[in-house]
Amino acid sequence: MALLPCGIHYETYEGDMAYIHTRAQWVCFILFLLVLMFLPYILSVRFIAMVNMAAMICIAVVGLQITTGYAGLINLGQSAFMGMGAFVCGSLAVNFNLPFWITIPAGGLGGAILGAIFGIPALRIKGFYLAMTTIAAQVIFPLIIMHMPDNWFGGAIGLSIEPAHLAGITFDSDTSLYYLIIITAVIMIFFAFNLVRGRTGRAFVAIRDNDIAAEIMGVNLFFYKTLAFAIGAMYAGVAGGLWAYYLRFVGADQFTLYFSVWYMGMLIVGGLGSILGAIMGVIFIRFLLELITYLAPVLVEYFPGVGGGIWFAGMNILLGGTIIIFLIYEPRGLYHRWRIGKTAFRIWPFPHM
């Protein structure tokens, strides 16, 4: 438990478990939500596009946080689960003309089912072996998609999707899609925050810390391990559904192992074992990426001898280097630093707890 502000104490567990303790925190929280709602009026379209991208990835990485950070099951197939969501969502939208408020949850369900299937081996294996089954999911997924009948998932070509509609609004611009994405993201993150402090979340943490001990204490390993995969993959599936409506095109090559690795990198940078950490990691890595995208043309101008591709290839060096440096120097991620900073602020001017 984080340190509470001065003078705040509780006599119930419910009070202790609350995320928001004081009136000032409520005010800040509501202000934050209001700013989120009015962001398109403050920022330019370019920035909104960045926020959209980050918010969609955020949903997938929060899901990964539940599977990997809370339940301790290494998952390198998040991108495939996201793809499953995108294809299920796209297929329902194209073939049956269903509205987005059915297809996106259906995408989530599709992701969850695929995740549960590849999560079943988790009962018997862990660590590296489990990472391998999820890599297998990542390799097998595009093969399945491409070899289903063409009218199901678009085969090798992919699916083109009409923009989403709701009550006369067409979600075809970055600004309108912003509301669709950000509201979904807020709902999913709200759900995640509450999931991890409930019975299910505690079972996940028990499994992460020691699964044999957890089983002895009465946690049903098979159920909870499969559930951890299913929930994590459901988040990926919902993110995939949004992705389908955002890009309005779904192809199997958008969901490769490479992206799964990126999501894992974001998780490590943010810190395993906290929802806020996942969000921080996404924002940090996306910010670095946008910075490179922005700086690369400028750098090309100053160093014309060096090809433009090199600056973009630098992204890989940056991400790989960031993952390695964080693992060596701060394996608990940005969230841990944030908490240290917050505690230091609260107990100031005393140096120790």
Binding site: G72, I74, L76, I120, P121, R124, I125, G127, F128, Y129, A131, M132, T133, I135, A136, V139, I140, L143, I144, M146, H147, N210, I212, A213, I216, L257, V261, M264, G265, I268, G307, G309, I310, A313, G314, M315, N316, I317, L318, L319, G320, G321, T322, I323, I324, L327, I328, P331
Partner: protein, 300 residues
């Protein structure tokens, strides 16, 4: 008559599969040796292979070095790479949980990818012809020379490494480190040294695998996929068994080749690509330690 043709085809497919399997085995052995001497899971195997392939290309394309010197320099570079990776990435992580090792190898994977793109521009390069171009003929059978000689050298390496790891004091020290870092350290074995040795052998084997795999072909970064293809072989063999990798490699190679011949016509080429991974999933479900791996009993 028909059956005769069937058997000739079958023999042909099987032979192709065996040779391909040996190739997988070479990459898998590099992976297993790194694990067996330092408990390090190296998902960046394919990327290291490609990196070394570009280094080899550089030494050979400089043309100032004679053939053998260039080859020797390449292996020297492999040793250096192994030492650098150990010193700067894996030494600080001694004693960390296994997921940290997996994650850092993923970070390494992306880092090397970036370095290759920046260093060599990710452009196609002709890989030098190190094994002779002319195929090897034994009676009626024809083999690609790189795979034939590569296979023979690989078998020799496997025999040598199996002996070293199971029979010599030095190999047993490495094995102890693979089992448990802390216990090994407590017994007076230098974990640092073991991990350095693991990486040196691993990088040298990757260099060898690059030569066998890419001999006389076009080199692009896409070749790193071989690292992923070798994973089913590693898991089928079990993470700890060096000689098992050859058996597992041949099983996967032959299975893939049969799937390509008999199942692909019905599945538009999907089956041969999916086969190694489906096999891997089945192995993981029913025998997680693989065919020859150690069965580890867990205690709370």
């Amino acid at each position: 008559m028909e059956w005769e043709y069937f058997f000739i085809d079958l023999a042909q497919y099987t032979l192709e599969g065996v040779l391909k399997g040996l190739l997988y085995a070479v990459v898998a052995i590099a992976f297993i040796v790194v694990y067996r001497s330092g408990r390090i899971l190296n998902l960046a195997q394919g990327e290291i292979l490609v990196f070394m392939a570009y280094v080899i290309w550089t030494f050979f394309s400089l043309t100032v070095f004679p053939f053998w010197i260039a080859l020797l320099l390449s292996f020297g570079a492999a040793v250096l790479l192994g030492l650098i990776i150990e010193r700067f990435i894996f030494r600080p992580l001694i004693g960390q949980p296994i997921w940290a090792i997996i994650m850092v190898s993923i970070g390494l994977m992306i880092l090397i990818q970036g370095i290759v793109q920046v260093g060599w521009g990710g452009i196609e390069r002709p890989f030098p012809q190190i094994f002779p171009e002319a195929p090897v003929r034994i009676g009626e059978l024809i083999f690609t020379s790189s795979i034939f000689w590569g296979g023979i050298i690989a078998l020799a390496i496997v025999a040598g490494l199996t002996f070293v790891f199971n029979r010599t004091r030095w190999g047993l020290k490495l094995t102890a480190v693979a089992e448990e870092h802390q216990v090994a350290q407590a017994m007076g074995i230098s974990v640092k040294k073991s991990i350095a040795v693991a990486w040196i052998i691993g990088c040298a084997l990757s260099t060898f695998a690059a030569i066998v795999f890419l001999n006389g072909q076009t080199l692009t970064f896409a070749a790193a996929v071989i690292g992923l293809h070798a994973l089913p072989v590693v898991l089928l063999a079990g993470l700890e068994s060096i000689s098992g990798a050859v058996v597992a490699g041949i099983i996967v190679g032959v299975g893939e080749s049969w799937a390509a011949a008999y199942l692909d016509p019905y599945t538009e080429g999907a089956m041969s690509q999916a086969f190694p991974y489906v096999l891997m999933l089945i192995v993981l479900l029913f025998r997680p330690q693989g065919l020859f791996g150690w069965k580890i009993i867990e205690r709370v």
